[in-house]
């Protein structure tokens, strides 16, 4: 992909500049600001907002991955088989819950701030990872598992050395979906007073300052697209390595 090789570094440079040197872009955003109003968001440093946004997403996704993969392993063992239909129902029904609603419903129980956002991101992030991990672990080629048993690997060794590595690409797809949803939901988290890049967009919406809206929207959008792209590359590399 030739477009990618040029576009990717260019977008990364633009994103870094937008976050670290926002004032460079003042002429670009000036036409969208209200007459005489501020053009560049300066109520908080964009770098610290970006870092706290990404920290929320990383923490929630890491926790969700750990819990979801553990649950998927348990459910795909013979002892957990009775829970398989139930877990499928929960993932199907749970994913119809809008992320915004999960966020809004977390507030009455946990109050405002980063807490409810983190919980909502974690809960919602579980579902795609669990679904994909379960698919990955339950659709392994039987011949491979048989061969692993044949060379004398016990259950634990089979899981660690054969099943998990083979299921990894499918699991990564789930993690990618979950990270992308988390990035978006964390943006809305600023409506419940979590410090995220959504703050810039919300501030723009509240003061009718389209320059803020565009600035925040561009940064969040670029982060999402670049992270998504990086995870896709990682998956492609893993698939070509396992020869899938």
């Amino acid at each position: 992909m030739r477009i990618g090789t040029i576009l990717r570094p260019a977008l990364i440079v633009v994103l870094i500049a937008l976050v670290l040197r926002p004032t460079w872009f003042a002429p670009v955003f000036a036409p969208f600001a209200p007459a005489g109003g501020p053009v560049i968001y300066d109520r908080a440093s964009l770098l610290s907002l970006s870092l706290s946004h990404l920290t929320l997403v990383v923490l929630a996704s890491a926790a969700a991955t750990l819990v979801a993969v553990t649950l998927a392993i348990l459910v795909t063992r013979p002892a957990g088989a009775a829970f398989r239909p139930l877990s499928r129902t929960i993932t199907n029904m749970g994913q119809t819950f809008p992320p915004v609603a999960v966020l809004a419903l977390a507030v009455p129980m946990l109050g405002f701030g980063a807490g409810p956002t983190l919980v909502a991101l974690f809960l919602y992030g579980l579902l795609p990872i669990f679904e994909n991990a379960m698919t990955g672990l339950s659709t392994l080629p039987p011949a491979t598992i048989e061969a692993a048993r044949g060379i004398g690997l016990n259950r634990w060794q089979r899981l660690i050395r054969v099943e998990l590595p083979l299921a990894l690409p499918v699991m990564l797809t789930g993690i990618r979906l979950s990270v992308v949803i988390s990035l978006g939901t964390a943006t809305i988290g600023s409506t419940v007073a979590a410090r995220t890049l959504g703050e810039v967009i919300i501030a723009g919406l509240l003061t009718n300052n389209t320059a803020y809206v565009l600035q925040g929207g561009l940064i969040v959008g670029l982060f999402a697209v670049l992270i998504y792209d990086a995870l896709v590359q990682l998956e492609a590399r893993l698939i070509s390595r396992t020869g899938g």
């Binding site: 829970f83 929960i90 199907n92 994913q95 809008p98 419903l105 919300i202 969040v220 998504y228």
Partner: protein, 390 residues
């Protein structure tokens, strides 16, 4: 009921639900607050009303959990879920007036965490029991209609009107109706627009591999852009269109409101529609296409009579994804003046008024769930037909 002796007579998920449910029974079931804003005091289920009223509800909940835990009679598990739900609502209906009695004019009662968690437990028990019985699409449709009818009866009869969320509703009846219509308009309107654009685009992509290689990655990048950013970026674009294209403003196209929300939703919908159209058309077995070609069908005839009917379940599955996704995303429209249930959610968040948040969030969740179930039934129905009709 004779006690089940062997382990297989018990349902492991049912046991989990029973343990969880019994634990949840000792958590606060309802909240009594002095007014709309202050935090209330949590009350346990047995402290809601006199022992005669709470006893029956508690007994129903415990019985429902026990019926759900056995695995001898599977229909009884479904019955257990229904009995448990009756118990939950009985406690709410009897508890609310008893708590409000003498508590002051501004006092508010609302269901607390215990109620919501138990509601979740019984709904999951019901779903688990149903999955075990695996009813056909028509029976599932009937059960859904029955469930909605009971819910409508419960809401319409006024027995829940003492609850604070009902009071929020009562003071906003016309706004609620307007928000419902707007929410449905956003979700279904964008679905229709996405189908109009997406199906032809998907068919083109199916034919031309080069187009497919550019369009699908572009659409999936579009899908990754966070919703708030997408809605925000639409504002200057549509503001510019509204200001510079003659006649656009009279059509209601402007920077804030319905138009940017609608366009953002359409953009989000394109990937599932186009992607599933391509996947559905590609799923036609080569033998069927060969046979159609052998019969002398033209390209158009093959598309209409072979590829589309065979791919219909996958196409519908794409529409299911879009509908559920858009019902959720339409909430964000509330932030850019686009209306819908999001208006209540974000107003509620601003005022820290929990009941107002619920007034927006609960109908959204219900709408999404019902749409998902209905679309699943439709997918099953069309999947069944081509095999029945050779």
């Amino acid at each position: 009921m004779p006690l089940p002796r062997s382990a297989s007579a018990l349902s492991p998920p049912g046991l989990l639900f029973a343990g969880l449910g019994l634990f949840l029974l000792v958590t606060p079931f309802m909240t009594l607050a002095a007014n709309r804003i202050v935090a209330g005091e949590g009350l346990r289920a047995w402290a809601l009303a006199g022992p005669g009223a709470t006893g029956a509800g508690l007994a129903a909940i415990v019985a429902g959990l026990l019926f759900g835990a056995q695995n001898v009679r599977r229909r009884l598990r479904l019955g257990g879920a229904a009995i448990g739900l009756c118990g939950l609502f009985w406690l709410i209906v009897r508890g609310a007036p008893a708590l409000l009695d003498g508590a002051g004019d501004y006092a508010r009662v609302s269901p607390a965490a215990g109620f919501w968690a138990l509601l979740m437990v019984f709904l999951l028990l019901m779903a688990d029991a149903l999955a075990q019985l695996s009813p056909g699409p028509l029976l599932r449709g009937g059960l859904l209609a029955l469930g909605l009818a009971v819910l409508a009866l419960l809401l319409g009869s006024g027995v829940l009107s003492d609850l604070s969320i009902a009071q929020e509703f009562a003071s906003r009846k016309s706004a609620f109706v307007a928000a419902t219509l707007r929410h449905l308009g956003l979700a279904f309107g964008s679905l229709a627009a996405a189908a109009l654009i997406g199906f032809p685009l998907g068919i083109l992509c199916h034919r031309k591999a080069r187009l497919r290689r550019t369009v699908l990655p572009m659409l999936s990048f579009l899908q990754t852009i966070p919703s708030l950013a997408m809605f925000g970026i639409m504002i200057p674009i549509l503001g510019w269109v509204g200001a510079s294209v003659p006649g656009a403003r009279t059509l209601g196209i402007a920077g804030i409101g319905f138009a940017p929300a609608f366009l953002a939703l359409v953009l989000y919908s394109l990937l599932p529609v186009v992607g599933n159209t391509v996947a559905g058309l590609a799923a036609a077995p080569p033998a069927a296409l060969e046979a159609a070609r052998g019969m002398g069908m033209t390209v158009g005839q093959r598309l209409l009579r072979v590829e589309l009917p065979l791919g219909l379940p996958v196409l519908l599955a794409g529409l299911r994804i879009v509908l559920v996704q858009n019902i959720g995303l339409a909430v964000i429209a509330g932030l850019i003046g686009g209306g819908g249930y999001g208006t209540f959610v974000f107003q509620g968040l601003n005022q820290t008024a929990t009941d107002l948040i619920l007034l927006g969030a609960l109908p959204t969740v219900l709408l999404a769930l019902v749409s998902a179930i209905v679309m699943d039934i439709l997918v099953d129905l069309v999947r069944a037909t081509p095999e029945a009709r050779p």
